[in-house]
Each structure stands twice: as C-alpha cells, then as structure tokens.
C-alpha cells in the first residue's frame, strides 16, 4: 500500500528526515516510536503534503501512485488520513458543514454525486457513535472550545467518516486521560479492516496496549534505526531510548 524509499525532507533549510525506508501493507498496523525531535511528526507532515516542509529526495508510492506528486487534498481523496497531534480550531464553521464539504469533495474526485442531506446526517449519526461523540459537539464549530480529549475523539470521528485506506495517528494519545484513550483506541480498532492500514506515531507504549501493532519502528535523528515486532515497544518502555542512541554514535 505504502512504499517509502530513502525519503529526505527539510524545514527552513534544516534536514530533518535523512533517508526513511518503510513499507506498509494492507491490514497492518505500524508503530513509529522515538525520542523527541527524531522526526516523527515531520514524517506525517511530509506524507500528507504540509507545505511547511520541503521534500529533498526519495520517493513515496501509495497504492501505485506517486504520492509526492499529489496535492494535499488529492492525497486525502486517495485515502490518506492524518489524525493531527494538535487539531486546528476553525471558528464559525460547523462540523456538519466541514464534514459535508470533505465528503462531497471526495465524492466529486471520484465522479460521484454529492450525498443528500438526509444520507449525510444518517452517516454522521452512525459514525459519531463509534467514538461516543455527542450530537452537541458535532453541531459545534470545528474543534472550537473542545477539550483535548474531545479534539482527539473528533479526529477519529472524521477518520470514521472518511474511511481512509491509510491513517496516520500522530501522538493521538498525548493529552488523553485513560478513559478518553480507551474510547479513541476502541474507535481505531473498530475501523480496522483487512483492506486498510495505520501508522501509529507515539512516544509511549501506553497506546500500544490498546492498539496492537504488527511492527514497531524506532525513528532516531531522521532515520529508522530499528524495526521489530510488538515486543520492541515493551523493550523501549522498559529501557528508554538511551541504548538506541548508544548503538548509533555516528548519528
């Protein structure tokens, strides 16, 4: 589904990603862990086409398409979704209008008619229940005045609405209490199928107790320095990142 080869990227002239290689297949969950500043969030930003970052080398193929040649919105239409670490507030724009625009733009991209108001509201109701997002939140402005937990639930709600092929969850666990974490993880697990995949970016093992990864990668100084099964997450939890750093004095 996703094949990243020697991906390099910089921000304001400073190279952050220094040659990332990663393959994600349908049905898989990949966790990307690593110390602060290792480039985890940059990777999600570059994959989704955030204009603040400049790709300086490498390639990314997503379902046979050259991902880096697509605009951010077309990447979204092709099925790439990012659950933001810091979801943005858009005052005055109701979640209903926002999601309706998002859904209908995607349908337009595939040459489909816009969803009728009735069908759309039905879809909203159905998907809301997955993350227990109440009706009041769904009718408020996008993320405006939402608590940290509500914002993250709202991200997973949008993921449920858009049914992406590949979801990147960027530090979705940060700022969540244990109840909210459970709800969010339950949402993600409910949406998992054999045809989609996720990349879970996290600092801590905690989230991975709820969302079971098939692979765990350690990102350090812009490179993936270690990849293994889920047991690696437990090892990192126990030992911290220092031993990884010691293994790579050259970086």
């Amino acid at each position: 589904m996703l094949e990243i080869k020697d991906l390099r990227a910089s921000v304001e002239g400073k190279e952050i990603l220094k040659g990332i290689n990663l393959t994600v297949n349908a049905g898989e969950v990949h966790a990307i862990m690593g110390p602060n500043g290792s480039g985890k969030s940059t990777l999600s930003a570059v994959l989704t086409g955030n204009p603040a970052f400049t790709v300086t080398g490498g390639s990314v193929v997503f379902n046979g398409k050259d991902l880096l040649a697509l605009s951010p919105e077309d990447r979204a239409h092709e099925g790439l979704f990012l659950s933001f670490q810091y979801p943005v507030e858009i005052p005055g724009v109701s979640m209903v209008n926002f999601m309706r625009a998002a859904i209908n733009e995607k349908r337009k991209y595939f040459g489909e008619e816009p969803l009728s108001a009735a069908d759309f509201l039905k879809l909203m109701r159905e998907k809301r229940s997955i993350v227990q997002l109440d009706n009041k939140l769904a009718s408020r402005a996008v993320n405006e005045g939402f608590s940290g937990g509500e914002k993250k639930r709202n991200e997973i709600f949008q993921m449920a609405m858009l049914e992406p092929k590949l979801s990147i969850l960027d530090e979705t666990d940060s700022g969540l209490d244990i109840d909210a974490l459970r709800i969010v993880a339950h949402g993600v697990n409910t949406l998992k199928t054999a045809n989609n995949a996720s990349i879970v970016i996290t600092h801590y093992q905690r989230l991975l107790d709820y969302i079971k990864p098939d692979f765990v990668h350690v990102l350090y100084k812009g490179r993936i320095v270690m990849s293994a099964g889920p047991e690696l997450a437990l090892e990192l939890e126990e030992k911290g990142y220092d031993w990884i750093k010691e293994m790579h004095p050259e970086l």
């Binding site: 979204a76 724009v93 733009e105």
Partner: protein, 493 residues
C-alpha cells in the same frame, strides 16, 4: 504556479500555494456586468437649477417637493466634498454626470414593462411576476432613475401596507411623504445628502400601519444600466406603532471602465414598539483587478427609533463597489429602544471601504449592538469607523461593540476608527476588537480532509462572518454566502 527554491532539488508537487490563492483572491469575473440594450431617456449631462427643475417636472412632482430640491441644491453649492474618509476618492466632476436616465415606455402600452428590462431582472434572478400566495418576497425593481415595477402592491394594500416607488408615493400619499421625507436625514446633513436631496430619482416607500406585521419580505433591487449616469436612490420606511417589517436591498451594475456614482439616502422611522429589519447585500461592480472602473457607493443611511421600545436592525454584506463610504446608523430617541448593526465588508483587488455605524443614545435604557467583520484581500483597504454616543439623559444605556478584521494578504489593510462618548455614569459601553490573518494551519487542516485551498478559504471566511450572516433572512443568507465564496475565488494556476 508554485516555484520552490531553485538551488534545491524539489519534489514538492506543483500546486498553487495558499499564499498565491489568497494573493490573487480573486479574479472571478463579475457575474452581473452585462449591459441591457434598452431605449433609455437620458437627460443631458450637467447640474444646475434647471436640471433640478427638469427632474422634478419629468417626475410630475408637486411644488413643495421642487422647493425641497431647490433648497437642497442651493445648500449643496455652498459645500465642499468631504475628504476625511480613509478612501482615495478622486475629485468628481459633477457636470460630467447625467442625473436622470429612464428606460423608455412604449407609447401604445405605457403600463407594460419593456421585455428587455424584464429579461434583465430575470437574469438577475429578481422575480417581477407575482405568485398566488402572499408569501416570500415583494419586489420594487429600480433601473437607473426609475422604478420599473413593484410587485404585490395591491395585495399588500389590503393589509394597509404601502409598498411602492417613492415617485408614486409622492403622488398617492403626499401627506405621509411630506411628513417624513428629510425628517431623519435632513438635506443639510452632509455633502452627498444635499446632492441626493436635490436630484434624487427613485427608491422605495414603505409604510406599515399600526399593529400590522408585514407578511412578506419587502425588497428593492437597484440596477444601474445606463452609462455616464449617477443613481440617486431615495428610500423611506415608516413603521407605525407595533408594526414589523423586514426589508431587503440588493444592487448590481454593468462592468465599465469609468466610475459611476451611487449616492443614496435611506431614512427609517420606527414608532412605539415597532421593529424594522433592514438588510443589504451590496454587490455593485467593484472595478477590475487594477482598480479601473467600479461604483462609488456614497450613501447616507439612518434610522430614527422614535418610539419607546422600538427596534431597528441594520445588516449589511458589502462585497461590491470600488469605494464604499457609509454608516447605517440608529438614533435611539425612544426609551428602551434598541439599535443593531451587523456588517460584513469584503474588499479585494483595489477596493476601498470605509464603513461602520453611529449609535446615538438619547432615550433612557437604550441599548445597541455593533458587530463588524472586515475582510481584506488583494491590495484593498478596509476600515471600520464607528461612533457610540450616549447622551447625559440616556441613563442606564448600554452598547456592545465587536469589531474584527481578517487580513487575507499582506498587501491589504485593515483599520479601525472607533469613537466613544459616554455622557452619564449609569451606562455601560464595551468595545472588543481583533485583527487576525488567515491561518496556514487551518488551511492545511482543510486540505488534509480533502478540501481545496480555495474552498477552505471560502469556508473559513464564511465561518468568520457567520455571526452576521445568521442575521440575514434565509433567502438572502444563502445568496450572501455564495457571494462571499465567489468573491474569494482566485484564478488557480
């Protein structure tokens, strides 16, 4: 298209960045810029007492109105054009304008509307046919200097509601017109008010009798068609005790390289416990992207809340005109009277707007609310100017003002000029102001959800303006939202 740093090998996709889209917001062609080929009677250019007399004669006016015009004209001669606005209004040659233009009527059927004129309003989406039911909207359609048709006039008359052109009102209801004309905006008020009072052509007259709630929205649609003419609209609305009316105003004009003048006066009188809602969607031709052409929209709009517990609410969505200079205002004379002003002003390219309101509190326990949302794009200048004045006798009064500016481009300007005078210490005045830029993070968030940058900007701006848009009557709100989005569309690529 996007050009990254040349020295760097770049794999960033070729797409216009949001900056460029905002920079170019927007080159969308003005939809209403067509000209109607209709036989029009235009009087020779120039302004003098004879021209004032000619206009009065063409309209078949009584002597008292000619006197009113002449007094205004003579007063106007003593005035100089004001220059205090934050707009670059050039010297206007008042002798180069024709002050009266009317589509000619067929001699054999003087009551019938010219098919070309009808087509024009069809094209603008303004219905000149009446439906069976007394619901929706009644329209007074004004082209250049004359009202070409007023719908539902007879049906509304059954309720005692008078809705007609002001020219007809002068003939049919002289006492009412005489009583109220100039009572809120005297001809001595300002330069353009004096000019308008001397040469005003058509506009609407509305009278809602005591205790009547007008069952439909009343609206006037102003269309400028003839070249090298000015339009001098005059509208007068009176809501008697316990009456209610919602009135809408829309405007468009052809695309021309010359500027055209629209200098209007709107007067509103609200009696005891009556309420008037006045909504404007102003979409005069704004000029081209280099600032060539466009309407000078120089307007005096004022309402008098004369009665106790009366209420006047102005809502305006301003997207058109090369220059907009106006302050729809409320004089709150009645005790417990309420004034409201909700405004969205969008300027782009080289447009300039200096708009806001005056809330003059004279009665006790009066209250006013001002919500102004300015949006500046391109190289435009957008100013909010407002006055809140609470007289010493207006005890226990209050005002709340919120004045926000959104900058879409670094080359545009947003300015605020608030004046607050409070004459007693039992009143409360609050003023909040913000200036913000459109946020790249918001745009990227929308992009990531599959929403293009253009649509994202439309969505964000509409969200920003929502508080005001929600005050518009339903039919208008949808149109106004579209108008805001269309006005922001840039040429991509």
């Amino acid at each position: 298209m996007n050009n990254n740093n040349k020295d760097e090998k770049t794999l960033t996709p070729q797409q216009p960045d949001s900056e460029q889209i905002l920079q170019s917001a927007a080159q969308e062609e003005y939809k209403y810029g067509f000209v109607t080929d209709v036989d029009t009677h235009v009087i020779p250019k120039g302004l003098n007492e004879d021209v004032v007399r000619l206009i009065s004669r063409l309209k078949g006016e009584p002597e008292w109105l000619l006197e009113f015009r002449l007094k205004a004209y003579r007063y106007w001669l003593t005035l100089k054009m004001p220059t205090w606005g934050h707009v670059t209004l050039p010297e206007i040659d008042y002798q180069a304008i024709s002050y009266y233009a009317a589509p000619k009527k067929k001699e054999d059927a003087p009551k019938e509307i010219d098919p070309e004129v009808k087509k024009t309003f069809d094209k603008l989406g303004i219905p000149l046919e009446e439906q069976m039911r007394l619901s929706g909207m009644a329209v007074d359609a004004v082209m250049d200097s004359v009202s070409v048709r007023t719908t539902y006039r007879e049906k509304l008359a059954e309720l005692g509601v008078i809705f007609c052109s002001i020219s007809e009102a002068v003939k049919d209801y002289p006492d009412l017109v005489k009583k109220y004309l100039g009572s809120v905006v005297p001809y001595t008020d300002n330069f353009f008010a004096a000019l308008n009072s001397a040469v005003f052509s058509d506009g609407s007259f509305v009278y809602i009798p005591k205790g009547v709630r007008c069952p439909m929205e009343l609206s006037t649609y102003f269309r400028i068609n003839a070249a090298e003419t000015g339009q001098f609209e005059r509208t007068l609305i009176v809501a008697d005790d316990d009456a209610y009316v919602s009135y809408l105003e829309g405007c468009t004009a052809p695309m021309r390289d010359e500027n055209q003048l629209h200098a209007a006066i709107v007067e509103i009188v609200v009696e005891d416990r009556a309420e008037v809602k006045y909504s404007t969607v102003q979409n005069w031709y704004p000029g081209d992207k280099d600032g060539r052409g466009g309407i000078y929209n120089l307007v005096t709009k004022r309402g008098l809340c004369r009665g106790d517990h009366s209420k006047l609410s102005w809502t305006q969505v301003e997207t058109g005109s090369a220059i907009t200079w106006k302050y729809p205002s409320c004089v709150l004379r009645g005790d417990y009277s309420t004034g409201e002003f909700y405004s969205v002003a969008l300027t782009r390219n080289r447009q300039e707007a200096d708009t806001g309101t005056k809330m003059i509190h004279l009665g006790k326990h009066t209250s006013s609310t001002i919500v102004s949302k300015g949006i500046s794009a391109g190289h435009s200048q957008n100013s909010y100017r407002g006055m809140v004045k609470i007289a010493p006798k207006a005890v226990n009064s209050r005002n709340y003002t919120q004045c926000d500016s959104l900058l879409l481009t670094p080359t545009s300007g947003a300015h605020t000029f608030p004046v607050i005078e409070v004459g007693n210490d039992s009143s409360v005045v609050e003023h909040e102001a913000t200036t913000s830029k459109i946020n790249e993070d918001q745009i990227f968030y929308c992009n990531q959800r599959g929403i293009s940058t253009e649509d994202a900007v439309g969505l964000i701006v509409n969200g920003y303006a929502k508080e005001v848009m929600s005050k518009l009557p339903m039919e208008f709100a949808v149109e106004a939202q579209k108008l805001l989005s269309i006005s922001l569309e840039g040429s991509v690529g």
